[in-house]
Amino acid sequence: MSITERRILLHGIDREDSAAIDTYLADGGYRALEKALKEMQPSEVVAEVAKARIRGRGGAGFEAGRKWGFLPKQNEKPVYLTCNGDESEPGTFKDRHIMERRPHLLLEGCLITCYAIGARTGYIYVRGEFPHAQAALEKAIEEARERGYLGGDILGTGVSIDLFVHTGAGAYVCGEETGMLSSIEGNRGNPRLKPPFPAVEGLFRCPTIVNNVETLSNVPFVIREGAEEFLKLGTEDTPGTRIFCVSGHVERPGAYEFECGVNLKDVIEYAGGVWKGRKLKAVIPGGLSAHVLLPDEIDVACDFGSLARAGTIMGSCGVMVLDETVCMVRALQNALEFFSHESCGQCTPCREGTDWARKVVTRIEAGKGTEADVDKLYEIADNYEGMGGKTICALADAAAWPVKSYVTKFREEFLMHVRQGRCPLGG
């Protein structure tokens, strides 16, 4: 079955000038903002977004509208919006596309959200490795300010909202919402203890809403077209579209926007299928932290619920395709190098456990492990995976899932390394 893209967020990105405000305006841009400011009360905006059930595109899939509802009702402090553009999950590059190619879409989403939650200031946190995205957003902010969509007295409604780009400096853990808040405050990007949740006590100890770039970019569509239209897209579980970032061993890696619920197999086919006519070995469906899927497991609908039932996560929709030449031990070593390097070092299990697992898998990869090491590897991951109990943030869990799924699903390959004392694939 062949499928087609449904480009809402990536609308018109093939055009050279897709980032320009005029292009955006020509496509009906900032109409939703105008509608929200002039025709709707903030609470109505919140209600509309809640009705659309936009599930968080950062990976956790929490509904944005519900999150906004957590803001304290009696509140004297300023409210902040922080847009999470610290897209560091390996295999994911959807937010970069939006920020670089359609910055105004994000700005409009941020502005509407700020209006809805009563924030006067919003920070868009862009990771340091995305200088182009930073530049595009800075430029877009300037343009929007010039046109009166941003700053004081927007469109003459008396509402004033400021948006700033805040740069990161290289830390995966800042993609965690509280880690990002720490980073914006000028601290080490350590995730914070929850509770208190950011909606109650976030940036600068004030109520704060944190949303992903893609999530916020969906807001203009919902406001402009109405929640009903949005709900028509995708599935009951996950309405709307999602940008699938297909990378790895496919003929045409890239970002493709489909309605949620699309079959994972079709997505890979759409990206040209496994390259060089090779056989598929494994698919990682939701960024590096997701559980790996075997070729016979990829006939699955892509929404949060279906993938969870398939034993993995939708996550950030970073689909990585691995062909038959890949050594899974080496791949796991690569993943653990990433996670141990990116652990902030706060919580003991994550700080020590990820690095221990890395050392063990490195030894297995080098052919110096024992069969007991393979079981130990699984157990280490099991021990530091706490589902919130063992660590403050989910990085440890993210680092545990690949270990557990690789070791379980490719156990033979691990044992081969041990028995042969080298990589059976000759890597």
Partner: protein
């Protein structure tokens, strides 16, 4: 030769950056929030965070030098060791790894004669090399980010061209 302007001399903020820093500080309700953007700006200016500026920066933002040090060492893009005029981030995470990042890195190391894991700089101070964890350019894997320029679909054969291009830009 580099101008004296680019050298850290201890006074903070350096005159030519004061305006820029003040603007950054103005975005936030607390001065310390500007720390990371300012550090990134210093990094860009001096190709590292000069030790002499830590005290001044702390005073400028109203925090302590220890805090600044903690932040500098946390973020990988901030370096206390001076980098080359052209700094290459070579992505090594899974997507790029699958498509041959290892070979690219090796080719680069050979070409430049420096090692990435040791943070070495070419003797002429032109190039330095660093592996990066996912640059978010997975569709163009393997990829390199250098001087704010992205190079996608790199192969061991094309690294020479990249170096040439960087050289020509620097001139």
């Amino acid at each position: 030769m580099e101008t004296k302007m680019g050298e850290a001399n201890g006074a903070f903020p350096p005159e030519h950056l004061r305006e820029r820093f003040d603007a950054i500080v103005a975005r936030y309700p607390r001065r310390t929030a500007a720390l990371i953007p300012i550090l990134m700006a210093i990094q860009e200016e001096y190709r590292h965070i000069p030790r002499e500026h830590i005290e001044g920066l702390a005073e400028y933002l109203g925090c302590t030098p220890a805090h600044v040090l903690g932040v500098i060492t946390f973020y990988t893009m901030l370096s206390q060791r001076k980098r080359g005029r052209h700094h290459l981030y070579v992505c090594k995470t899974l997507s790029c790894h699958l498509r041959g990042a290892g070979e690219v890195l090796r080719a680069l190391e050979e070409k430049l004669g420096i090692r990435a894991d040791r943070g070495e700089v070419t003797p002429d101070g032109e190039f330095s090399l660093e592996t990066a964890e996912c640059l978010g350019l997975c569709e163009q894997a393997p990829c390199i980010l250098a001087d704010g320029i992205r190079f996608g679909d790199v192969t061991p054969e094309t690294v020479g061209r990249i170096i040439d291009e960087l050289k020509s830009r620097g001139a």
